[in-house]
Every structure is written in structure tokens, then in C-alpha cells.
């Protein structure tokens, strides 16, 4: 059932990676750790793309999308880090629980 020849095993890996990424996003206090989690989620999506692309038509659409995603992930990481920097300048910490000025 988990042979490397089946689609489902790659999807499972994708799901596992997604869950780990989600868990990291939700529970880590360090802002950069949260960004690392986001990268994990994006990479899980990449795996899903490539797996589907390989086992459906045999073309290379999936791989192309995966390259777009990697590019986007890089851009997004840059922007995210810029925001973290801005937050650090205000709060003097990158603990996400410190940024609660929107608390009602």
C-alpha cells in the first residue's frame, strides 16, 4: 500500500508535510519558525503538484507549477521577513504573542 509506485503514497507524504507545516504555524512562538512552517506547507503543495502531474498525463505542467510555487515562496519569504523586521522594530521581540495590540 505504501509502495513508491502508487500515487497515494506521495499524497500521504504531501498530507504529512502539510500537517507538520500547519502544526508549526499554529503553535510556534518564534515568527521565523512560523515562516518555516509556511514553507513546509508550500512544499507539500509542490509534492502534490508533481505527483499528480506524473501520474495523470505524464506531461510537465505540474513541474512547471511547482517552479512557480518555489518562486512565489521565495518572494513571500522575503516579504515575510521584512514584516518580521518591522514588527521587531516596534515590539523589540519576534514573539508572535507579543503583538497583541489588536486585542479587544
Amino acid at each position: 500500500m505504501f509502495s513508491p509506485n502508487e500515487l497515494s503514497s506521495y499524497l500521504i507524504i504531501g498530507a504529512i508535510l502539510f500537517s507538520l507545516g500547519l502544526f508549526t504555524v499554529l503553535t510556534r512562538r518564534n515568527a521565523i519558525s512560523v515562516l518555516m512552517g509556511v514553507e513546509l506547507i508550500l512544499n507539500s503543495a509542490n509534492i502534490n503538484y508533481v505527483a499528480f502531474s506524473h501520474y495523470s498525463s505524464g506531461g510537465l505542467e505540474g513541474q512547471i507549477y511547482a517552479i512557480f510555487v518555489i518562486m512565489l515562496a521565495a518572494a513571500e519569504a522575503a516579504v515575510g521577513l521584512a514584516i518580521v523586521l518591522a514588527i521587531f522594530q516596534i515590539f523589540h521581540t519576534i514573539d508572535v504573542e507579543a503583538a497583541e495590540t489588536l486585542k479587544e
Partner: protein
């Protein structure tokens, strides 16, 4: 009686004085200012004199007719036509009302003339004559009405004018009170009159011919014979009720109390209203309805005895009075009692005869008293008079004639009329010797107190003060002339009613179409002469005692009064305490009722009103509570819930990124589940 002769002029007998009253009443004040009192006098006296002329004409017309046809009517129009009640505005002159209109306009006219002199200094001259004319008009309506309802209009009218004239000098509260007393006591009688009238109409209506017209009632009188109401014969009940009315108007016991107080009015008023005319209305009414009264022997009995009682009681009171007008007032009550004795023994003609002679001599006496009062500068106490015969000759002689007449001196008018009544009281089947005896006693007392008055006023030393004595003078001609005319009447008016012994009463024969002659006396001439002799003797005795006491001063009145410890004197002087008894029972009783009513109003009615106000305030207070706590509570609660809910929702905004992300995750998962489950 069924076919009276229609005329056109009878209405003017009533209307002329009425017009005089209206002119003087509405314009009198202005006329008096511009044209003086002479104009008022003319406007007042001319109608009455003209009415007298018309009355004489009507009388002569009647005389020219055959006896069964002596009925004149002036029918103006139908006044009331309502179901079975049909009442005309019609004036009726038959032998009976002819006598009355002659007396009213004749004696009334003389009194009007006299009054122009007597009231000369009074500022409200015009008001006096307006009311005097109105009174005359009302009295004429009373005596010429052809039906009971119109008679009642006149009946009430004279009561009203009596009130207005008694209280003429209303600025003095006592006079106003006297006027009130007259009217109120009269009203009690009027209530009886009305009830009697209603009963008669109702009873006739039950037989199918409801009517109030005299000639029709006379025709159908016999149909009421058997009818009963609550066990009493209807005729008896109705006649008794009507007699109650007569009691009030003619001042008999127990409604006599107003007449002495009525002397508060000017003397011409006392002469006209309370001697010659208004008080005789009761006698006239019973004579007019003689066909009823003759079929109700119980009522006649009551009438005779009340008449006798009143005659005697008033005579005893008159013995003690010292006011010159009071003596005459009680004398009037007493003489009216005689008239009712006459009615009570079914001697209606004799009663009317006495009414006529009484009008002459009593009016003369009152006007003479007025003359004396005028000369004495309004002094009315006889104890302050005396010796006036030389300074007032006309007054003296006319007064003397009238005193002789009222005392029943032979050959004067009063003798014939009074004796006729006494004779009938003895011999009629309704009468009794006892009744006659009371009458004779009263006649004796009448002689006594009238001569007492005569001697006290005109003879002896003058007891007035010096100033008044110097100014004693005879009254002007306008006042003495009526006195003379009335005195002539007082002498000669009696000759139309001679006793049977001397030829029979022409007067009674004249009245026969109206008053059926009772069966001719079956008693003997000797008895008649004998009774006459007794009454002459008794009157002479009364004169003699008065002569001894007041002319010769042989024994003093004070000793007489002191007999029996002064008991009788006090009883007579205090008028048998009638006024005091009535005051306690009726006046205080009415006041008590008024007070009870006021208390009821204060505590019960106001209590209810205030209570409902308090209740309203209480309800509104509850309302307020409700509004405050419940309504506001709901509104506040909603607001609070919203607030609380808002507070709770606010907790979502943690500002914590992690919790926001959890929220997103949960929402996406839910969306996926929903999508997978519910949408294909």
C-alpha cells in the same frame, strides 16, 4: 246652560286691566319720570273703571234675558286640545260671575282711586299700580273662567300678585318674609286644588267624557256618583282636595296663618286683596262647583265645621289685637269662616251674598283704617290713637257705618247676609243648632271687637304724641270719596237679600240658574224671627260690653285679660300658637332636611367623588410602577443582553495571531466538511 250666547266684549273686562298692567309694568318707570304720577294713575284706574262699565252692561244684558237663558260666553280659542282634554280660553258670565265681576271691578275700582291718594309719596308708584292692575286682571280671569284650568290660572295669578304686593316695601326684610309666607302657604292649598282638579278630570275621563269645563261638569256630575278611589267616593275626595285649595286661598284653619302677616303690605292691598277679592276666591270656587259639593255631604260637613271653627277662633284672637289692621285681618278670617259655614250648609247663595256685603263694609273699614294710618303718620297701634272723630269726619262716619254693618245691626247690609247664614245653619239638613250657636257666639264677639276698635280709635283722649296730634287732618277727597261710596254700599247692598219672612231673597233667586235653590225652608216664620232676635241681642250685648269698657271705661280691659291667670288672653294674643307650631314642624323640619341633604352631599357624594379621584391616582401610580419596572426593565434587559453578547464576542479579538490562524483552520475544515456532505 248648554246654549250660552256668544259675545265679543267680555274679553275686554279681563284684557283692559291686563293692558294697564303691561303698560305700567314695562314703561311705568319712564312714564312716571316724564309725565308724573297722574299719568300712572290714569293708566291704572281707567281700565278698571271701564271694566266696571262693561260689567254693568253685561249684568243688564243678563237681566234682559229669561232666567234659564242667562248665560253669556266669550270664547276666544281652544287653548288645549290633547286627547280627551279640551280646554278653551273662554270667559263666562252668568248670574254668579256677574255678581263677582261687579264686586271686583266696582270695589276694585274704588280702591284703585283711593290708592292714588294713599300711595302718593311712594317712589315705586308705577310698580304698585302695575301689580294692582295685574291682580285685578287675574282675579277677573278667576271669576269669569269657563273651566277649572283657566280658573286655576287666575288662582295662581292672584297668589303671585298678592306676594308681590304684600312684599311691596321689600327693603324691610319682614315685609318680604310676609310675602313669602303668603305665597308658600297658598301653594300648599294650591297643591290640594290641583290634585282635586286632576282627580275630577280623571274620573270623568274614566266614564268617557273627560272635561274641565264647568257647564259640562254640571251636566255629567251625576255619572260620578258611584265611583270610588281607594274606598272613598271620588266626589268626596275631589271636593275635599278642592276645599284644601280654598282653605289656603281664603285663610281658613289650618292655612290661615298668612293673612295677618299680610298686613305688612300697603293698606289698599289689604283692602282689595285680603278683604274684598282674593280671599273670596275660595268661596266663589265652591259656589261655582255647588253641584259637586251638594252631592258630598261629608265634605260639606267638614267645610261647615272648619268654617265655624275658624270664625270663632279668629274672633277670639281679634279680641286681643292692638294693631288696627290686625283686628281687621282677623275679622276678615272670621267673616270668611261665616261664608264657609254658609257653603257647608249648602247655602251657597247666602255665602255669596255675605261675600258681597262683606266686600263693601270690609273694604270701607280697611280704607278707613288706611286713612287713619295716613293721618297718624303711619302709626298703626290703636293704643296710641283716640279722639279722632273730630279731626276726620268723613273717615269717622264711614267707619261707623261699616262697623254697624259688620256687627249685624238691623237694616245694615251685614245683618241680612249674616243672618241668612245663621238661619240656614240652624235649619238646613246639613246644619245643626250647634253650628248656629258657634256662629252666634262669633257674631257677639265680632260686635265687641269692632266696637272696641271704633271706640279706641275715634273716641276719648287722644293718646298720640304732641307732634302727631298737631298734624291730624282728614284725608284728601280722592281717598274719602271711595269711603263714602263703599259706606253707601254697606248700608244698601243688603236689601237684595231679604229674609224669607220679609219677602224672600231676590239675590238667591237671581243666582238660581247657577245655584239650584234648596228646598224651601219648611221651618216656621216664628222660628226665623226668633233666631233673628237672638242674634240681634247677642250683637247688642257685644256692643254694650265694648261701650262699657272702652267708652265709659267702667271696668278695665286689663282685669278682663287677667282672668284665669291670663291663660285665655295669652292663647288669643299668641294666635293659638299656630305660627310657633308650624315653625317647629314645617320650617325647622324643612331646614333639618336641608341640613341632612347637605351632610349627605358633603360626606357621601363628595366621598364618592374624592374616592374615585384617589382610586384614579392609585391606578396611575400602579401604572407608573409598571412602566418603570417592567417596560423599562425589558428595554434595559435587551440593551444589557446586547451589551453582554457584545462583550462575549469581543473575546474573539485576542490580537493573537495564533488564535486567528486556529480560527481560519477550523473554518476551512468545516467548509470542506459541509461541501463534502451537503453538496454533490
Amino acid at each position: 246652560m248648554d246654549h250660552p250666547i256668544q259675545t265679543d266684549y267680555l274679553r275686554w273686562i279681563v284684557f283692559l286691566p291686563l293692558i294697564g298692567a303691561i303698560i305700567n309694568g314695562l314703561l311705568g318707570s319712564a312714564i312716571q319720570k316724564r309725565m308724573g304720577k297722574g299719568a300712572i294713575s290714569f293708566i291704572a284706574c281707567a281700565p278698571v273703571i271701564l271694566a266696571f262699565g262693561l260689567s254693568v252692561y253685561a249684568f243688564l244684558t243678563l237681566k234682559g234675558l229669561a232666567a234659564e237663558q242667562r248665560f253669556l260666553i266669550d270664547r276666544l280659542y281652544t287653548w288645549i286640545n290633547l286627547g280627551s282634554l279640551k280646554v278653551d280660553m273662554a270667559f263666562w258670565v252668568d248670574p254668579l260671575s256677574a255678581v263677582m265681576i261687579l264686586v271686583v271691578t266696582g270695589v276694585g275700582g274704588l280702591i284703585h282711586i283711593y290708592a292714588t291718594g294713599y300711595m302718593h309719596e311712594d317712589k315705586a308708584f308705577w310698580r304698585f299700580f302695575a301689580f294692582l292692575n295685574l291682580f285685578t286682571a287675574a282675579m277677573l280671569i278667576l271669576v269669569t273662567a269657563d273651566n277649572l284650568l283657566l280658573m286655576f290660572v287666575g288662582w295662581e295669578g292672584v297668589g303671585l300678585c298678592s306676594y308681590a304686593l304684600i312684599g311691596f316695601w321689600y327693603q324691610d326684610h319682614n315685609n318680604a318674609r310676609a310675602g313669602n309666607k303668603a305665597f308658600i302657604v297658598n301653594r300648599v292649598g294650591d297643591f290640594g286644588f290641583m290634585l282635586g282638579m286632576f282627580l275630577l278630570f280623571w274620573s270623568f275621563d274614566a266614564q268617557g267624557h273627560g272635561t274641565l269645563t264647568f257647564r259640562e261638569m254640571a251636566k255629567w256630575a251625576s255619572t260620578l256618583q258611584g265611583q270610588q278611589l281607594w274606598g272613598i267616593s271620588v266626589i268626596t275626595l275631589a271636593t275635599l282636595l278642592l276645599f284644601v285649595g280654598a282653605t289656603g286661598k281664603s285663610a281658613q284653619i289650618p292655612l290661615h296663618v298668612w293673612l295677618p302677616d299680610a298686613m305688612a303690605g300697603p293698606t289698599p292691598v289689604s283692602a282689595l286683596i285680603h278683604a274684598a277679592t282674593m280671599v273670596t276666591a275660595g268661596v266663589y270656587m265652591t259656589a261655582r262647583l255647588n253641584f259637586f259639593f251638594s252631592t258630598a255631604p261629608e265634605t260639606l260637613h267638614v267645610i261647615a265645621w272648619i268654617g265655624a271653627g275658624t270664625a270663632l277662633m279668629a274672633a277670639t284672637i281679634a279680641l286681643t289685637q292692638t294693631d288696627i289692621k290686625r283686628v281687621l285681618a282677623y275679622s276678615t278670617v272670621s267673616q270668611l269662616g261665616y261664608m264657609f259655614i254658609g257653603v257647608g250648609v249648602a247655602g251657597y247663595a247666602a255665602a255669596i251674598f255675605h261675600l258681597m256685603t262683606h266686600a263693601f263694609f270690609k273694604a270701607c273699614l280697611f280704607l278707613g283704617a288706611g286713612s287713619v294710618i295716613h293721618a297718624m303718620h303711619h302709626e298703626q297701634d290703636m293704643r296710641k290713637m283716640g279722639g279722632l272723630k273730630d279731626s276726620m269726619p268723613y273717615t269717622f262716619w264711614t267707619f261707623a257705618i261699616s262697623v254697624l254693618a259688620i256687627a249685624g245691626t238691623p237694616f245694615f247690609s251685614g245683618f241680612f247676609s249674616k243672618d241668612e247664614i245663621l238661619w240656614l245653619a240652624f235649619t238646613s239638613e246639613h246644619g245643626s243648632p250647634m253650628l248656629w250657636l258657634l256662629g252666634v257666639l262669633g257674631a257677639g264677639m265680632t260686635a265687641f271687637y269692632m266696637f272696641r276698635q271704633f271706640f279706641m280709635v275715634f273716641f276719648g283722649e287722644c293718646r298720640a304724641d304732641h307732634h302727631t296730634q298737631e298734624h291730624l287732618h282728614e284725608s284728601p277727597k280722592v281717598m274719602t270719596l271711595p269711603l263714602v261710596v263703599l259706606a253707601i254700599g254697606a248700608v244698601f247692598a243688603g236689601y237684595v237679600g231679604l229674609p224669607t219672612v220679609f219677602g224672600g231673597s231676590q239675590f238667591a233667586r237671581w243666582l238660581e240658574p247657577v245655584i239650584a235653590a234648596h228646598g224651601e225652608e219648611h221651618a216656621s216664620h216664628a222660628l226665623e224671627l226668633g233666631l233673628m232676635a237672638v242674634s240681634i241681642t247677642v250683637a247688642a250685648f257685644g256692643f254694650f260690653i265694648a261701650y262699657l269698657m272702652y267708652y265709659r271705661a267702667a271696668f278695665s280691659p286689663e282685669r278682663f285679660a287677667g282672668l284665669a291667670g291670663g291663660f285665655f288672653y295669652r292663647l288669643f294674643d299668641r294666635k293659638y300658637y299656630f305660627d310657633e307650631i308650624y315653625q317647629v314642624i314645617f320650617v325647622n323640619g324643612a331646614l333639618l332636611l336641608a341640613r341632612l341633604g347637605s351632610l349627605f352631599d358633603q360626606y357621601v357624594i363628595d366621598g364618592i367623588v374624592d374616592g374615585s379621584a384617589s382610586l384614579t391616582r392609585f391606578v396611575s401610580w400602579l401604572n407608573g410602577l409598571f412602566d418603570n419596572y417592567i417596560i423599562d426593565g425589558i428595554v434595559n434587559a435587551i440593551a444589557n443582553i446586547t451589551f453582554g453578547a457584545g462583550n462575549q464576542f469581543r473575546r474573539v479579538q485576542t490580537g493573537n495571531i495564533n488564535s486567528y490562524l486556529y480560527g481560519i483552520l477550523i473554518a476551512v475544515v468545516l467548509a470542506i466538511i459541509v461541501k463534502l456532505r451537503y453538496w454533490s
